[in-house]
Amino acid sequence: MEFEMQSQIKCVYEEINNNVIVVGEYKAFHKENPAQGITVSVKVEDPHGIVLHESAGNVNGQFAFTSKQAGEYKACFSVSDIQTAYQTKLKVDWRTGVAATDWNAIAKKEHLDALTVELRKLEDNIREVYSEMLMLQQREQEMRNISEETNTRVAWYSIASLGMCVASAAVQLWYLRRFFKRKKLM
């Protein structure tokens, strides 16, 4: 993915699950002249703000980590001043899970041919799909619970409002009767 840095700091966010390998590559270069590199500083943070990777003054680089918790991870790139920012184009390649694992190394270690590697990739992909599906199901269940609670609340609060209305009418009547009796009008 390539994009232009229109501001001094630009952050790329990615929602990542628990226990997933994450590999990122970045390269910063001049908008008009791709061969000319521009130094940029990187800061990669996890959902709680803990810095996982930090480097400054590089034209291109890599970072890799395994996620310890599910959430929104961000990688922030910043240039020295806003003038350079208008000229800079950033190329970021962020891979998680299946796309991040080093298939060449695995193929060499277990002596697998190309077809088996592809099938392994498919298998891992399907596993990820399955676990994501389970998570989605759980989230929908939570949402369903909230909806049902809202439904119940609407009913109870309406009855409560009606009750308040009737109660305030009764209090008014009682008070006014007492008031008029005291002023000897009734």
Binding site: M1, E2, F3, L115, E118, L119, K121, L122, N125, I126, E128, V129, E132, M133, M135, L136, R139, E140, E142, M143, I146, S147, E149, T150, R153, V154, Y157, A160, S161, M164, C165, S168, A169, V171, Q172, Y175, L176, F179, F180, K183, L185
Partner: protein, 177 residues
């Protein structure tokens, strides 16, 4: 954003726009331009959409997500959130491969097909996940609103009845004098 894509590699993607302040929904246009300059895909004024395409040119594709000013209700918002996803599949190589792979040629074809379908599945799943998150925001805000409206309603009721009593008292006090 620009992505480098190869010819015949199908890609699947989606975007979901989260609501702005006060639950107003922003609508976006998505325009995909090929390296040759032609607009290969266009979505107008949708808060969330899914797309897939088979590119016929190799090179840098530009994906432009732009706010649709006419259909969006809210202005002057400090920041907006859009969730974006893109998956790229494998290309079926149309060039001649060497003969010794001839046995597994059809097998590769099927593997590529399954992979493409899997990418589509993942893309759809991601889209549904983002949509669920966005719908969850609506549901939670409805829940909160119900409580707030009930409290406000009761408060106004009590206030109005007290005001009525006070006015009637004043009215009769004036009459007596």
């Amino acid at each position: 954003m620009q992505y480098d894509l190869n010819m015949y590699e199908p890609f699947y993607g989606s975007f979901v726009a989260l609501p702005d302040l006060y639950s107003l929904q922003a609508k976006y246009d998505l325009i995909i331009t090929s390296p040759g300059g032609t607009r290969v895909h266009e979505t107008v004024g949708e808060p969330e959409a899914k797309f897939h395409l088979v590119p016929y040119e190799t090179g840098k594709y530009r994906f432009c997500l732009r706010l649709n000013q006419d259909k969006t209700g809210s202005r002057y918002v400090l920041s907006r959130e859009v969730l974006w996803d893109l998956h790229v599949g494998h290309a079926d190589s149309h060039s001649n491969t060497n003969l010794k792979e001839h046995d597994t040629q059809s097998l590769w074809h099927y593997v590529h097909q399954v992979d493409a379908q899997l990418q589509q599945l993942r893309a759809t799943q991601q889209y549904l996940y983002w949509r669920e998150r966005r719908h969850r925001m609506t549901v939670e805000s409805t829940n909160r609103r119900v409580l707030v409206y009930a409290l406000v309603r009761n408060g106004v009721l009590v206030l109005v009845s007290i005001m009525q009593v006070v006015f009637i008292r004043r009215m009769f006090s004036k009459q007596l004098r």
